[in-house]
Structure formats: C-alpha cells, structure tokens
Amino acid sequence: MKQQNVDDVVRLLCLYLCVMLLFSNKANSVNWSYVHYMEDLEKVKEYDWASAVSKYLLESIHKNHRDISQLKGSSILLLYFLCEHTNLVEVKTANRVPRLLKWKISDLRKSLKDFTHLSQLADDKVHNTNLEETADEKKIFGALCAIDGGKREFSGQQQHEEVQPMLTDNDTEATAALVLLGKKEDEICEEEEQQKYEIHVGEEDEICGHHGDEVQVFAEQKQNEVKVCTEQEKDKVEGNLSNLYGLNDFNSSSQPSLHLDSFGTTQETDSGTTLVPNTLSTEEAQETDSGTTLVPNTLEQPSDHAMEVIDKLKKQIETLQQEKKNLEIENMEIRQKNEEALQSHKDEIEKLNSKLEEAQGTNEVHQVTQQATANKIKRLQKEKEELENKLLSIIVHQVTQDYAPKIDAEGKAKKQESPTSRILRVKERDDRKKEKESKARKLKRLGGQIDMTELINTNAWAKIQQLWKEGKANAAVWHVASQILCVEVSDIQNLLFEDPLSSRVMDSYAYVLMQDHLGAQPRFDLSTPQPKSFIFPHYLRLVIENKSAKQVNQTLQKQVDKALPARFFLFSILFQAHWTLLVLDKEQCKWKFYNPLRIRHGTDGYCGATDNLRKVIAEYINSQTRQMLNIKITEEVEIVKNSPQQSSGSVDCGIVVISIIMKYMMNESQTSAITTDECRKIRADLIHTFLK
C-alpha cells in the first residue's frame, strides 16, 4: 500500500471521529473546516482538540439549552464530567488512562434516578477538590510531550488560555466555570458569527462577572509565567494535555511569545484557580475565524485604554469627516457658480453669433433685393421703350387707316373732279401730313417718363401709408351716404398700381364730376342749374333689361328726367370687363361710341351691347321732347374712330373713358390720343379726389 493511501485512511478516520463523536451534529455531515486540519497528519496532534471539543459542546449547550434535541457536540462528555466531580458513580478502577475507563457509565443512570435536578445533589456527593494529574497520566503525556519537546514555543495569543479556572467547589461554580470556558473559547467555535459571539460575551459577563477578576489575575501573572516557563522549560515537559500545541506559524512578532505554563507552576502562583488539562489554544480559532478572533483575546485593562484612544480617534475622524463634507459642499458651490458663469458666457456668445448672422443675412438680402430691383428697372425701361415704339407705329397706322376710306372715295370721285377740287385735295393731304407729324412728335415727347409716385402729393401719400398700416382693404375711404357710393382702400390701391378700374370708382368719380359740373354752370335764377352734360351710372344699361315696360318707364323717369336739359348724355358702359362710353348728342341727334380698344375689322361687340339702351333712351327722349324741340333721335351710332386708345398691354380703359368724360364735362374738344403719363395723371387726380 502506498503511504499516501494510508494517510488518507487515517485522515478519513480522523474526520469520522470528528463527525461522529467529537463534533457531532444532527446531519452527520462533515464540515469542510475539519478537513483543513487533517491535511498535515503530523500537526494533528499539536492542535488543542480537547479545548475545541469542550468549547463546541458548551457553545451548543448555550445555544440550545431550551431544546435539547438540537444539541450538537459530544454530549457524553457531560456524563464523565459529572462522574469526575461527584460520587454518584463508583470508581471501579482508579488511575486508569484514559480517565473514562474509571467509571461504568451505565451506573450513572441508576444513581440519578432519584434526582430531577443536579442542584438536588447533596454537598457531600460533590467533589470540591481540584483535578489532579495522576502519576500514570504524567508518564504517558510526558512521553508524548518528549517526542515533541522541541516544539515548545507558543504564539502570544495563547497566553490567556493557558490557565483555565475549571474546578469549583460546588455545581453552580462548575457550571459557571463551564460557561466561562465557553467564553474563553468562543473564537474556536467555528461557525459562529461575530454578532452572536458578542452577545454571548455580554451574557456571560453578566452570569459570571466575578471571573473577570480571575482573568485579570492571570493577565498580571503573565510575565512571571513567561519567565518561569522559559527558565524551566525542560521541567514543564510533564505538562498536561494543554501542552499539546504547536503551529509555529502563529509566532507573531507583535506580541511576546510565551511558553505554556506547566500545570504545577500555575498552581503555585495562583492558588484560587487551577489549571485544567483541557486548556485550549487559539490556533484553531485563528485558522477558522481569521481576523475576528484576536480582538476579544486582548485583556480588559488595555482594552479600556484602547477604547479611550479609539473614542478619541473616532471623534477626530468625525470632525475630519465634517470638515471634508464642508469642503465638498464648498467645492460643489464653486463648481455650480463656475458652470453658471460659463453658461451665461455661452448664451451671450450665441446671442452675438445669431445677431451677426442676422446682420449678415439682412445685408445679403438688401444686396440681392437692390440687384433685383435694378434689373427690374432696366427690364421695365426696355419694355417701356418697346411699347412706346409700338404705340407710335399703331397710331401712325391708325391715322393712315382713318384717311384711307376718304382717299378711296376721293379716288373714285377723282375722275369726275374738277381741277379746283384737286387743289383742295392736295391741301388736305398736306394738312394731314402736318397733323400726323405733330401727333407723332407729341407722343414722343410725352412718352411715359413720369413715375406714378411722383404725381401723388405728400398728404395723399401719408394717408395711403396710414391706410396700409391699418390693413383693412375693405374700409371705405370716400363715401356719399345719400347715393350709397363709396370708394374702398383696394380701389385706391388699384389706381396707384395702375390696375383695372372698379365700377365703384367710375360711379363715384362720375358723381364728383357731376357735382363739379353743376357747380360750374351759370345760374340765371334760383332754380337748379342746368347741366350741359349728364353722366349716367354704369348699371343703367342692365337696369332696363329684363324689366317690365312699366318698371323701365319708372326707371327712365327717375334717371333721365333730371338729365333732359343737358345736351350730352354720357353712358359709361361696362361690358365683358371693358369700359366703353356711349354719348348722346341731343342737339345733333347723334350717338357716339368711344371704345378705348377700337375694333379695326368687323362689328364692335361692345357697341352692339348698347343697342337696347340706345333704343329705349331714344324712344323715351323722343316721347318726352318731341313736341318741344321737334327733333327725333335715332338709334344709329357712330363709332368714333379717332377716340383715344389705351396703350397695348395696359388696363387703362376706364381711365381713358374718364378722360373722355372729363373733356365733355369741361366742354373741351376730344383728342385722338392719350399717353401713359396722362393716364397716370388722371389716376393721381382720382386718388387726390378720394383722399381729400
């Protein structure tokens, strides 16, 4: 068999012993902590197994004294303890090694029949003497210790556990001693948590406070013991079981190393207490509960001093922590301030950047708009020149056409003409040429050079701007309540921008012109002045359509009767979004039709739209004035060929009609042409009239 296998069997047996007998628990399972101690078989015997077993048992009793079924550990030891300290069981063979062979344990049951509590035991049955090592034991343990004589050095942690107050005079003291033992060996109890441990300490202090003195005594004797131990090292080889210790690893330099006292020396130094063979060492405890075990081992006096120091240190720590917190708070505040300042700076920078960008953007926009307007002006000027040229050519063409029929007629009559008539014709031709040239010159001179805005005075401008600010396009600028006539802002805008003329403006301006005309007429008596010309509203043409004869008659009575004294009846005609003018010359019994866009070929549809009007008006006038003037008005109409024409592409037909009406009202002769500038002047006059 290999040596390793043998060792393994030994280890397993040892573990079995631990589990089944020494450290038995309910589950019969092996705690891993024991395996660790079995690694080195040579060291196994150096551990203080006795104290460990005792402590384990006492700890378990302490924990589970209310419920014995939960008890762990080697409980049979309690019986032998009882046997050792009482006379209950007769000692059959004294001085047996090991001691448990001294008694037949089954006898204990018989002898304990009469007792329910140990306290009922009589004093004479209890041994008050200390345990003493027998001669045989000394021999055996001495032999054992001789083997390991070289390993007598102990770590300092063992010092307070070398001496155990084990024996007492009575049972109560014995239990107290047991408890104390448990206290001293707390650290060995492997699984206990530190909290529980502390609780145990507290409880045990209450229970056996008087033992603290004993411990103190031990502590004071420590130095002496050390000395004794070192000097009489060899003599103490005959020590008890507690001399079985080792673990050279635990020779810590912080505490003085000690040699274990012999049983005899301690007896000599301290008569009040005795040493127990089952003393414990802390090697196991250190291995099982590293770190926590050493603290309770310190003596109480130094611990008090240390506690004071610790308290001081704690206070210092607290003050330092407070200072630290204050500093941290200050730091935080400073950081916050810095961050705020940074943010404000950033905001300012962003604002400045945005302003810069806006300024750049506006500059760019200005430049672009300026360029665009310059280009637009150039383009418009070009267009204007082209249009003027076109207009000139159109007028020239028109003049030539006007005279074309005459020429034809002359050509026909030429054959029959006399020489005198030929002279006249030549003269007429010369006159025509002159007239044509003068017209062309005039047109060229008066080409659209004037800007619309220059024609409007400052007051009107101020009013226009104010109206634009108000922003109400439908607001009335000028109105006559009695006639329900009004002019709105949009109409002024249309006039200003050379847009089409609305019917409101036409009727309103007609009303204004009529008022002026009436005011300008000479008065010969107190009666109302007799107008020379009369302007009818544009809707008269439509009013007389689709009406009963009776209603038409009523309408005409209302509208025409007041105009009868006048010579010229002016009918502004609105047909298919185009302004034309129909004029009745009552003296000459002639209808004249002015069309700003004269139709050169074919019939004029705009003129045809006035057929009904002409017929109705003629009939009415004839019926009203026949007896007085003995005239008869026909429906025949003359389309005026040299009526002023609006420039091509423009929407000035309404303005042209107004200009014609104005000439009639002013009793001026009609011109055959109107320029763009003249149209603009009329628009400006209208604006001034309505914005007065």
């Binding site: 089409p500 003329l501 609305s502 409101r504 809707y539 209302k558 609105l574 979004a577 302004w579």
Partner: protein, 86 residues
Amino acid sequence: MPEPKKEKTHVTVKVQRQHAVDVFIRVRLDLPLRELKLAYCNRLGLDCDAVRFTYNGSRIHDHETVSDLKMEDGDVVDAWYDVLSG
C-alpha cells in the same frame, strides 16, 4: 254684402343678378329692405357688404321699406357686384 278688401301686407319681389338665378322674395310692406338684402345674400352665400341693390336704377338704402319705394308684386330689384375692369 261684398266682403271688405283685405289690406295688402306683403309684396313679392324678384331679385336678379347677372349670371345668377333669379330669387323671389316675399317682403312685408313695413320691413326695412336691409332684411331683404340679408335674406338674398344668405340664400346665395354672398357677402352683403359687397353686393349693391338697386330699384329702378336707384340704390336701395337699408332703412327704406317696400312701401317707401312703392314696390309692387313682380317688381325687380337688381343686385350688383362691384367689378374690376380694364
């Protein structure tokens, strides 16, 4: 005994407009014609401020009534839109 003639209280007028359907409206004699204008404009969904009404070539004032203008059954009232033209 001949029955006494009932006094006429209402007049039915026709409102006509270019390019629109004629609308007949029965108006009480003493009702201001503003109501007629509103009724017509509401019927056709027009803006009342933009429409002009004329009777026999004269504009109709809001406060005038049928009896003021001596309207009769079947009389025609003209409605106009102001038109831009050029």
